[in-house]
């Protein structure tokens, strides 16, 4: 604690108190399980938009992306960020159909297109594991970052952050999460704009920053990192992150929480536009960070240390406080949403499948208990960090995209597809994609994502041809698809 900056520490404490106050106020509006899960399906455009933005930008974005730019330049824009942004826009174009299918979660959607209710707990289990791992990663990154900034020892910081978001998520469900997200999203975007504006003035303008960044290494301003990234790898990374947008449990939950198709469309349209500008600014801030630190002799060995170093040793205290608030917003808004999503996965996708006749009050208790238990387990796991942040992030993206993306979304539109073919394709995509990733990220020259997605599509077509069209889900989906085409 000897290195703790009192201003940063005070901002951290005040912020947590403010957040808890908002969460307690919002929790009083949570009256039943539908409120807890999906905001009673009454979420308006502003709340939905800022909730998505706040959830989207995580500790991984702040530390990992800024660090990646510090180490490798702007090529991150060519694959990861382009994939994410095109994914948000892509989801906009299918959201009308998804919203009208009246599904609450992604496993609901899988069950709908496969015509098999057992797909709910199966898909739910995969998403639960994925979501929980993601939560652990977020906690690790978040706690490392806040520890570096405030000086509070890591083992305490993990539990402080863990306790806060577990408490307010379990208390108010999506109502608390969404209202705190609204505040966090605005703070986060504002913090990055203010910080970049300061850096632009400090370093003599954006052109000067980019010129000096290119002078550090010309490959930093090359879309392929000076040829370090092959086009197949760029394509595979792009596809992996593009696909995750369609398969994230929290994205489907928020779509279900919107009050109508119009709101669902607005929140994705507005979020995509705001996030794309935000990420462009964040990446430029990463470049400015590299220029500032290297230029002032504060260069770091570990890229993940770049952003904390900028805050603690380069910018003035008031900018540091603004950034601490932005960082805290990025951390808590993502962890609360993911924790809510995995708690709902347990209650809605797994528990209610095996206990279909239990009352809503019972499901609410299960949701809350799962939220607390999984949150505590994630916090405990974060005490012994698993691997590096970016590696696990990519690992998870490959799995979700390979297994679920194309089989599920093709089946929404190709209504005559046999449900068993869709299930087989999901399993094949998961096994091949994950296997290739574990085996080193590729099979021969073919990246893992291409292997997984290719296997799932190939098996989808072969199984459909072998089984013949059973038209299991045709009556359910065809009408909705026709409406979508007309609307």
């Amino acid at each position: 604690m000897s290195g703790a900056n009192p201003y940063f520490l005070a901002a951290f404490v005040v912020y947590l108190i403010l957040l808890m106050a908002i969460a307690v106020w919002a929790a009083r509006r949570t009256r039943n399980v539908m409120d807890f899960w999906v905001f009673g399906q009454k979420m308006g455009p502003t709340l939905a938009t800022w909730s998505l933005i706040a959830n989207f930008v995580s500790a991984v974005s702040v530390i990992g992306f800024t660090g990646a730019v510090y180490a490798s330049g702007y090529s991150l824009m060519t694959h990861t960020i382009l994939g994410l942004m095109l994914g948000v826009s892509g989801l906009y174009f299918v959201v009308g159909l998804v919203r009208r299918l009246n599904v609450l979660t992604f496993p609901d959607l899988v069950a709908r297109v496969t015509g098999t209710q057992a797909a709910r707990p199966l898909a739910g289990s995969v998403l639960l594991l994925s979501g929980w791992l993601y939560l652990v990663m977020q906690l690790v990154g978040a706690s490392l970052l806040v520890t570096a900034i405030t000086g509070v020892p890591y083992q305490y910081m993990v539990w402080i952050i863990g306790s806060v978001f577990i408490l307010y998520t379990a208390t108010g469900g999506l109502v608390s999460v969404a209202w705190t997200d609204l505040v966090q999203g605005v703070i986060m975007v504002g913090a990055v704009i203010i910080a970049l504006a300061y850096m632009v003035v400090d370093l003599g303008g954006l052109t000067e920053i980019n010129t000096r960044f290119a002078a550090l290494d010309p490959s930093f301003v090359d879309p392929t990192g000076g040829g370090k990234l092959s086009w197949p790898m760029i394509g595979a990374t792009f596809l992996a992150f593009f696909g995750t947008i369609f398969t994230e449990q929290d994205m489907l939950i928020r779509i279900a929480a919107t009050r109508d198709v119009r709101t669902a469309k607005i929140h994705l349209a507005a979020s995509g536009a705001i996030l794309s500008v935000f990420y462009a600014l964040l990446v430029l801030l990463g470049g400015a960070t590299a220029v500032a630190l290297v230029g002032s002799g504060l260069g770091v060995e570990n890229p993940d240390a770049a952003f904390p170093t900028l805050i603690t040793r380069y910018v003035p205290t008031w900018i540091g406080v603004v950034l601490v608030l932005g960082v805290m917003s990025a951390i808590l808004s993502t962890t609360d949403t993911r924790l809510h999503a995995i708690g709902m996965t347990v209650a809605r996708d797994i528990y209610s499948y095996f206990r279909p006749r239990v009352g809503e009050a019972h499901l609410m208790r299960v949701s809350r208990a799962a939220t607390v238990l999984l949150g505590l387990l994630a916090t405990a796991a974060a005490m012994d960090p698993p691997g590096t942040i970016i590696m696990l992030y990519g690992f998870r993206a490959v799995l979700l995209t390979s297994a679920f993306f194309l089989p599920v979304y093709i089946a929404i539109y190709w209504t005559a597809l046999d449900g068993r073919a869709v299930l087989a394709a999901i399993v094949a995509g998961a096994v091949v994609g994950l296997g290739a990733q574990v085996a080193g990220g590729s099979i021969g020259p073919v990246p893992a994502t291409f292997c997984g997605v290719g296997a799932s599509v190939a098996l989808l077509l072969v199984a459909h041809w072998a089984l013949g069209p059973r038209r299991r889900q045709e009556t359910v989906l065809a009408g909705v698809a026709a409406d979508e085409g007309a609307g």
Partner: protein, 66 residues
Amino acid sequence: MKPLGLPLSMFLVFAIVILAGSLGAIHYLIVHVLLRRPFGDEPAGGLAGAAAHGERRTAESREGGA
């Protein structure tokens, strides 16, 4: 040509990312605001209640011939 001090290819990547993220907003503006095309209403009554247990989906899959 180096807009904002970036090689043109890198500058274009930034522009493409912003355009990619804004496709939904552009579509919404043109189709739903300017052309005033409807969104299509959802089923009357919404999902509350039944959705908590998935009865609708269970019933539908049975009807579908599971």
